[in-house]
Symmetry: D2
Subunit: 362 residues, 4 copies
């Protein structure tokens, strides 16, 4: 009954159904003295917003209102309440399938849990809920920037096409941001787009893998033995709709490596400790090493597809068939990138505060 809050000291509590009046959140534990304007948040919301020929035609302006916790564009240290109205709500396409459980969606499970459910656009289980996460994440990013910490996300893989990247993450990120699918490999980008368009044409959808890199986190962050940095990030990211797996560093590949390959050897240079590799993904024993934190998330294909699927009527308990119309992205990976960034920022900031590195007034 307590699932809508993430964080121990930097705490984000979200609310809102897809077709309700609004979505939003309360961010408690934000340090005082941070410059914060609505546009800082809107910028991130725009990155998450559907856009272009490859995504849902639902057109939300997604402009946030800051209701509290800020005076003269500076945070007060008190809770920051954020609200984003739902305007372009159209529940009509949901009426005919009101009682049908859409395969791959949470219709049946919400019903099993609560005995009642909001059938309009997926209700609370809709991807729209992530607006609040991105808004809160925008605040977390602003605070992290004060400490030189940056969170970068991009599509590592879409529809089976893997992006080959090299160079600094900043560059990779810049390329990705210019791509309509946040795919940082210009050579293969057209293959990705082709596969997405094919899926669209077939009334189908595709998935992919998001990669997040965090630069600038000092060594020593993360709490043994349960609130480990990687465990906490896995918790944060796996809570995002459509994520089916999370890994750090060498991840699942490490299962096939030898100890002598996996271990990151160390050195000292000019009094500073360094590593010859980063298979650990920036975390050892759950605590950060000072290297880049690297996390990847597997995103399943959008469950809303216009193909005919077998399902059940939750009301009559009869077998039926369903074709999901509504407004849906054939591939949510590029938008999931922004949500993964947000949850990463929230989790890392929370751990930074736990470590005592963030003063109450900045």
């Amino acid at each position: 009954m307590t699932g809508s809050t993430f964080g121990r000291v930097f705490r984000v509590t979200t609310f809102g159904e897809s077709h309700g009046k609004a979505v939003g959140c309360i961010v408690d534990g934000c340090p005082a003295g941070i410059k914060l304007r609505e546009d800082d948040i809107n910028r991130e919301l725009r990155r998450r917003r559907p856009g272009g020929f490859l995504s849902s035609p639902r057109k939300e302006k997604d402009e946030v209102r800051i209701l509290s916790g800020v005076l003269d564009d500076v945070t007060l240290g008190t809770p920051v309440a954020l609200i984003v109205d739902n305007r372009d709500v159209d529940s009509k396409s949901y009426e005919p399938i009101k009682n049908l459980a859409r395969p791959g969606h949470a219709d049946y499970t919400y019903f099993a849990k609560f005995g009642i459910r909001d059938w309009r656009g997926g209700g609370r289980a809709s991807g729209r809920e992530t607006v609040a996460r991105v808004a809160a994440g925008a605040i977390a990013k602003k605070v992290l920037e004060k400490f030189g910490i940056r969170v970068y996300g991009f599509s590592r893989e879409i529809a089976g096409i893997r992006a080959e990247t090299n160079g600094e993450i900043e560059e990779v990120f810049q390329i990705s941001e210019k791509s309509p699918v946040r795919f940082p490999d210009r050579e293969r980008e057209h293959l990705v787009i082709e596969r997405i368009q094919n899926a669209m044409r077939d009334g189908d959808s595709v998935g992919g893998i998001v990669e997040i890199v965090v630069k600038g986190v000092p060594a020593g962050i993360g709490e043994p033995v349960f609130i480990k940095t990687d465990a906490y990030l896995a918790f944060a990211i796996m809570s995002i709709p459509a994520v089916k797996g999370v890994e750090t560093g060498a991840g699942f590949e490490s299962a096939r490596m030898k100890g002598s390959e996996m271990n990151d050897e160390m050195f000292v240079e000019k009094g500073r400790i360094g590593f010859y590799s980063n298979n650990a993904g920036g975390v050892l024993g759950g605590i950060t090493t000072g290297q880049d934190i690297v996390v990847r998330a597997a995103i399943k294909p959008t469950p809303s597809i216009s193909r005919r699927q077998r399902t059940v009527n939750l009301n009559t308990l009869e077998n039926e068939e369903i074709t999901v119309k509504g407004r849906h992205d054939p591939c949510i990976v590029p938008r999931a990138v922004v949500v993964c960034e947000a949850m990463t920022a929230i989790a890392i900031l929370d751990l930074m505060i736990m470590q005592g590195l963030v003063p109450r007034f900045l």
Copy 2:
């Protein structure tokens, strides 16, 4: 500073360093009225204990003492304190490498975090800490059994060899339990053992993948939107030493599937809702579907290897080389199985209680 507790209502708080006096935990929130004897816990501890030719020669008896919360072998509903003494402690092999950061270990990160560290056998970051998890998990399993819920674990893959299984999970589990490497594929088991022995001979180590299947969890468990069943399991399992990735159902494979392949279609039979497949791994929108919950964890190769590695002296900040002697398993996957089961049991029971399905007195 609060990392040693897992759970919201069924709460496990662990303590102990590898070469300290004892390891153990307090389990708060256990329902009253459960039959519980020390041997119920010892049985699970024995499953975790190193054993046979493939594992560490450290020989701990690992017998638990229940200090509280139980009267006449029945739980009182009050905290159950569990303690397991460290007897076969031998810190001598650690003395020469006292100030060296073992690659792949948490030596450097603990030092960076706390400014001090227990150099004896890995201290708090040692795998020995998982004794407390397994002990607490044994209690969680006993409670879950009352509801017909069973947690099964086995090695899905070791050193790149994947176990092909078919048939019911109970059977798979039975085969696995008889295998020295908890590998449920009798045909390929010898390949696994060969690779482990090769690694041993080379002073190296190997990793693998643990698979957990939970049977009997009713539909409706898991809290939107952050304490999702899969997110909570990812949190629980990723907190286990050496785990570098977690996935549910089709997991990372889902990134390459189409929506029409991934979605589990549904049917009604005799008034009960069922699914034609289980790519979801028993969880939709973070809430259980009533199907088996399927989770996999990537286990990295044991970081303690006797090969020469480059590292640093944390005291002098000079470059050095290290050869880790100590007593170590060349492959911890079979033992990690038991720890993954334990954390899964704890997390699932916690979610069951949150859903209001577990009375205070059973």
Copy 3:
């Protein structure tokens, strides 16, 4: 940094400054299936609102908007976001004393904590924040009513005049609700009003004691050893602005009693256990006895007085004098009654859920 949430499973997170855009809260953990309309909440807000000749002239309509968690007037089990706009905001009277610490207020302490403060109307420390508590409490009351639990509050004492009451609490409550000072002793009510008016005339203020009685709570509620019912109520109620003390049952008087006077003897009648007295106030060992829960809270006199007081300028660090104009009640006890009821309802419902007595769908 985490102070704006109360509750473990029924969780209330509030936001808002006195002269900001709005105050409100997110209520997470509310069971599904509860009839809930905005007017259910507005009714309680009206009870809290200043009114009549004895209170602040700030005239807020205080109408709540439910933004989420409710469909067709029925709760969904998802977070209920509540918002109350601040309309009649007038910060002008605060401008001249912008940098002065008002004695008895939190001006200096917020400044010491956050390094910045909202000087407009007390900011977050204003009594206006309690609007959100009362709104959340209204939901808690609705849920409790389903279990036959009722929370009654009244002024037990104002300005040194103690209300003598007898008869059932329902009656006492009815009389209190008709009194402009929520004072349930018709004979002495005029003395109270006189003293308040005298204080007003003198530019001064008075305090009093709120009494809360909860009927219908079953035996067995409350968690040993820290989340005891009385400890949890003390936490909840002491967090209300202006409360300087909390007691249960015989309370401070018990310090002067003998064991033989204090102990509530017991009997069985028709198979049900009863008590000959209720000095315990319905709680033994932190767990409810099934008797009425009785709690009292000491409310200090309103700190805003128009008398000249010595204080400091937080900006210049010089000694100054201050006369607080603004719009203030000479006695907030009658309004504090409603807030004490709300916090009690929230805490009791939370404990009821912890005990497993509240299903997810009602």
Copy 4:
């Protein structure tokens, strides 16, 4: 189900029944680098121990063992597990009253809650549980001392006799510590002793009021709006067995004061802010002012009395009479002083850490 943990970041989780094998706790979140030896804790345990002619003849040595979290007498930052064996256990006197609910005790309520109870010496509800609190509090005190914070407790009132004190709290405390009843008024001490002895002779018991003063807490501690310093202290202290009321500063007396009397006026002297009085008890708006924190707790008379009382048999549900033999103090106020100090130290340290004032390594 989660009641045995107190604290958000400095977290104390206790276990143990009065006549079980041991009582103890895990202290998580203690900073690294603190000198800590078993004797630091034993010293406080001795202060709590029954002693002298006025207290229970149960003679426990109460020597703690530190099982983890400390290496070479220095804390590691990892959980500190503390255990105190129960040796002088004698359950015989409880056998005859095994099924009777002792009036004023938690026998009936534990039974109502858990459906089962430990009848031996009060089980978990026994005052013996406070051993763990005092042990944890000893660690908190050691950390606080590093910041110049000291927690002093004494009996402000016993059996209706109020201690008149003047002078510095250090002096008051010194006198109190030399008194067998921790009563800092040498003139009236004999009256207190007389009343306790009379109560003993009559098979009865008496209560009193504990006062706690905390010196050295900086301004700015405490989290708005729910984890206020005073609310948190009320929570902590009200959770101690036998406490029926808590107040800060002027407390219940403030209900009878005028605003002009209650408000603490302020001044600046040599650039530092001061107050002309301390009716607030060191807390405004829940945040510390930098003055002494003053809290008082009402302690009810020991419920175990040898007088005949009417009660019920929980097994047969018949009316019976009871005479409680066992080993009991006629007045627990002097020992409660030490427990109140401990809980205060734990709560204040927790708030200090929340404010970011306590580094991870000291």
